[in-house]
């Protein structure tokens, strides 16, 4: 597949949160972040640095946590994309979201969706991470409010819940 740049009204589809979503009349250089937010009505992933430094746009793509701002959306037609909107079920918070609330890991909230996705990705691979592993896994997510202490607490609360068989 090649992506010509001269057309502003291309259409393609993306597998987002288990559903095939049509993207119409798009410029093919658009980032996945832009397409999610502006074309598919999924504003959970946040746009801040647009250069992969802040992690607020983190999504899961083919079982990898990536910055959606650095994914050319039109190149992701073969990928399975999961956003923060997919994590809770039936309007209920996910275990990680609840843990962030319980531990006070949310202040202004802008970075939170990126953290939530990154923590889900971590705990899906390792439900008993130590402090170093948590810090390493979250080193690509920047929070300017909390100082990270309560975010670390939240991850431990969620991890404990999973080990005890609570939540998912």
């Amino acid at each position: 597949m090649s992506i010509p740049n001269d057309s502003l009204n291309e259409s393609y589809s993306l597998n987002v949160n288990g559903t095939l979503r049509e993207v119409r009349d798009a410029w093919l250089g658009e980032s996945l972040l832009y397409v999610l937010r502006e074309r598919l009505g999924l504003p959970g992933a946040k746009g801040a640095c647009e250069q992969g430094e802040c992690g607020s746009c983190t999504v899961i793509m083919d079982d990898r946590a990536v910055c959606s701002c650095l994914v050319m959306a039109a190149s992701a037609t073969e990928s399975r994309i999961l956003t923060v909107e997919s994590l809770g079920e039936n309007g209920r918070l996910s275990d990680v979201q609840q843990a962030f609330l319980d531990a006070g890991g949310v202040q202004c909230g802008f970075c939170t969706p990126g953290f939530i996705v990154a923590v889900h990705h971590l705990l899906d691979q390792n439900s008993d991470p130590d402090d170093e592993q948590i810090k390493e896994a979250l080193s690509g997510n920047i929070c300017r409010c909390t100082g990270y202490g309560r975010i670390l607490d939240a991850v431990k609360v969620a991890a404990r819940g999973r080990r005890d068989g609570v939540g998912s």
Binding site: P4, N5, G29, Q51, G52, E53, S75
Partner: protein, 274 residues
């Protein structure tokens, strides 16, 4: 792969898109409007790596992400590559960025490049009408320049396996999420009795400190395990730094880079000696 090479030959102004961690920054922040974009990340044969015991080497697909080099069997075979991969950006960046992207961009601060220089890597380049194998030393020709010609793509990289310690170190303004201010990779070949040292972000291309390497070989018998005195390690660092030509820019000064890279070279040599 054939289809990809056809496309590349037909669109010789095309940008090859691997992990997107360089190209999309250009698009998002610098208004770059690439002509034609050809994504290679979905090609399975470019995302594989293979250990070839007969030639005692490892071949790594250009679209293999850094996160696959950080741990597991590849990391055990090539610890310096694993260490360098682990210093790239954040987990999200390492899940996307690739060795082929590092070679395509060819920044002097590219974290994988000193490893490829120290290991004398061979770059396998494909075109619809030909293929060529290029030593890394000949591949990188300047700041963000390489010898690829239109229609060519980096397919894979082969590095020899050596017996002996190898490691990578870098200096930046913080411990994570940082572009190198100076970097170094040292590979000890215990059978050949040689230490290779490659330095990054201290010259327009990656520097192999060949004079310091030769000097060290005259000071110390490097076959098998070896020891170095603090004085020898210190002088090795200074000699290596004198082979660089760093600049002052927004990330650091020439003086600091020269000092930092001498410290990195000294530390790596001390770690390799036991």
């Amino acid at each position: 792969m054939d289809h990809l090479l056809e496309l590349l030959a037909d669109h010789d102004d095309a940008s090859v898109l691997a992990g997107g961690t360089d190209l999309m920054v250009e698009v998002n922040l610098h208004g770059r409007r690439p002509g034609t974009v050809i994504p290679v990340g979905g090609l399975e044969e470019m995302r594989e790596w293979n250990h070839r015991p007969r030639s005692n080497s490892v071949t790594i697909g250009a679209a293999l992400p850094y996160s696959d080099m950080e741990r597991g069997p590849l990391a055990e075979l090539l610890p310096a590559l694993a260490q360098a991969a682990r210093t790239v950006g954040s987990p999200q960046i390492r899940a996307a960025g690739t060795i082929g992207g590092n070679l395509g961009t060819c920044s002097p601060a590219g974290d994988i490049l000193p490893v490829l220089a120290a290991l004398d890597a061979t770059i396998h380049v494909l075109h619809r009408d030909h293929s060529r194998d290029i030593r890394f030393a000949d591949f990188m020709t300047g700041v963000k320049r390489n010898c690829l010609t239109p229609g060519e793509v980096v397919h894979s990289v082969t590095v020899p396996l050596t017996r002996g310690w190898q490691g990578y170190a870098k200096v930046g303004t913080r411990n994570a999420m940082v572009i190198s201010t100076a970097s170094a990779c040292l590979v000890h070949d215990a059978e050949e009795g040689h230490v290779a040292l490659a330095l990054g972000a201290v010259a327009p291309t990656i520097v192999r400190a060949v004079k310091a390497e030769a000097w060290l070989s005259r000071q110390v018998d490097l076959r098998g395990t070896f020891r170095v005195s603090p004085e020898t390690a210190h002088e090795f660092g200074l000699r290596a730094a004198s082979e660089t030509s760093p600049i002052t820019d927004h990330r650091s000064t020439a003086e600091y880079r020269r000092h930092a890279v001498s410290v990195l070279a000294r530390r790596l040599l001390e770690r390799s000696a036991s």
